[in-house]
Symmetry: C2
Subunit: 323 residues, 2 copies
Amino acid sequence: MSYQYIISVDLGGTNLRVGAVREDGLLEEKEKHPSAAKSGCDVVLNNVLQAIQDVAKKIEMKHGVIRGVALGFPGIVDPQKGIVYKSPHFPDWADLDIFSYFKTALPWPIVVDNDAHMAARGEAWKGAGRGLRNFVMLTFGTGLGGGVIADGKIFHGDRGFAGELGHVCIESQGPLCACGSHGCLEMYVSTHGIRRLVETMDDAEARLKLLDSFSGNPERVTPKGLHELALDGDISANVIFKRMGYYLGIGMASLVNTLGIETFILGGGISEAWDFFVEAAKKELRERTYQETANHIEIKKAVLGDDAGLVGGGACFHPQEKE
Amino acid sequence: MSYQYIISVDLGGTNLRVGAVREDGLLEEKEKHPSAAKSGCDVVLNNVLQAIQDVAKKIEMKHGVIRGVALGFPGIVDPQKGIVYKSPHFPDWADLDIFSYFKTALPWPIVVDNDAHMAARGEAWKGAGRGLRNFVMLTFGTGLGGGVIADGKIFHGDRGFAGELGHVCIESQGPLCACGSHGCLEMYVSTHGIRRLVETMDDAEARLKLLDSFSGNPERVTPKGLHELALDGDISANVIFKRMGYYLGIGMASLVNTLGIETFILGGGISEAWDFFVEAAKKELRERTYQETANHIEIKKAVLGDDAGLVGGGACFHPQEKE
């Protein structure tokens, strides 16, 4: 018997992941390459194309049938037009017509969307969101990505830009964000955010001591490193995660009040440090939402890890997910 | 020829409005009574019932056919169950089963929803939102109400509590809001909000001078009074509206980033002072959203005024609006 497959791409600032998603959600032929963000647009797109063709060859060798290609790209992506307007990790990209580029080169139907939307689709189909009609997914990375699942589908808004949840404002006069606003949630809740929280610690002595573990360089602070310190009982690392949880709860409360959705799924690197931030987030959520809502809020850990985006690409062609 | 009608109720903290909405959206037999918020739950509900029966009698006398009753109530309303959990203007209300109360007393189908949702439906059907697939409506009153229209319908979220847009957080450490959070948009953008903005003016002399126009009592500050001052060239009244516009723009930017919806409709009392705040709101919106979105944002004035909620009740039974 021959299976049907979707070739799925998850491009990030660091890694390019490609895989083949079987119609039942099984992920096969998973590959990881450097995304070569600094090599410029032509090289990156050519690398993606090569990687797709490699995986396609493997699928065809085992007599699989390829039904489509799903491209999850970071940045401001218009899923209807298949255009990436801009992408913070790929500074030379501007109004890139991804759809046409791949449509010309490949014989299969193409779907393009934001990487965080793909991850939300993945968790909805085969992860922590299975069976949920509505949920909000937050993906912790260098920045903070988001996706809103409403009635089982990604909520797009007018042109697919819904779910930029890292750019909900928390402090109107807070630090300047790359998006042009100040005090965005992403400035507190993301790898970038925790670096800022470390740099702005009031207690200078504690700050220097904490930075010592990262060669004194805030840019070397990683969620993983900080998590290890917290596990070892480091009080400052603990304080940082609690502070992050505090801001996360405030942002989530705004989302609850806007979207009326009471289930959150948290994914991405920092979510590993769950035990160190989630109670602080829950506390703010309880205090900052109406009791009638607060009692129903549930926060779940994503289960697909780095595979969420690839699996979600498969979901784009899954019958339940046609939009 | 006999027309079909919906009896529509819009209950506010001050006024109870009732009317009959013809199938083509024409509002007839409009009545306004005091809402008697302080008389307790039994009196208020009985008044609403009486007013419905009065209007129904008038419709039946001209041989109209009543197809249903739409109840727009303020507060935390579960539209599926028809329960008002709580309502800030009616402090003795708790988990009130509005649906059963009216279902028992009246022979027609009953729909219950939040008053701001009804207003958004009204503007969608016969007002500034006609023909728009998606928009966000903000209704300025004592507080700040909201409604999200997505794909032509009210976006409900899990249990109908979506669109509490007055409770998007702007300042995590801002003034305490009745909802339990701090620095909610409603604390800056609403009648309550402008009173606070007046009370917290840095320039004490200007503050006292401005308050003089309201008998020295911040609680007497009204959007209308402040608007009149601004029209007369009062600099402080101007400053207050600009400040309100600044916060409004910040809140709207968070909504754009969350919902990806680029059209706003502003209704309710303060929206009359449009010329004094809207540029400040647009400026923040431009600065605080991605250019790709900012270029598409449109802010429109609601056109149905106080009738929006009543007309929206009619839309609940309109074929396009069945949910």
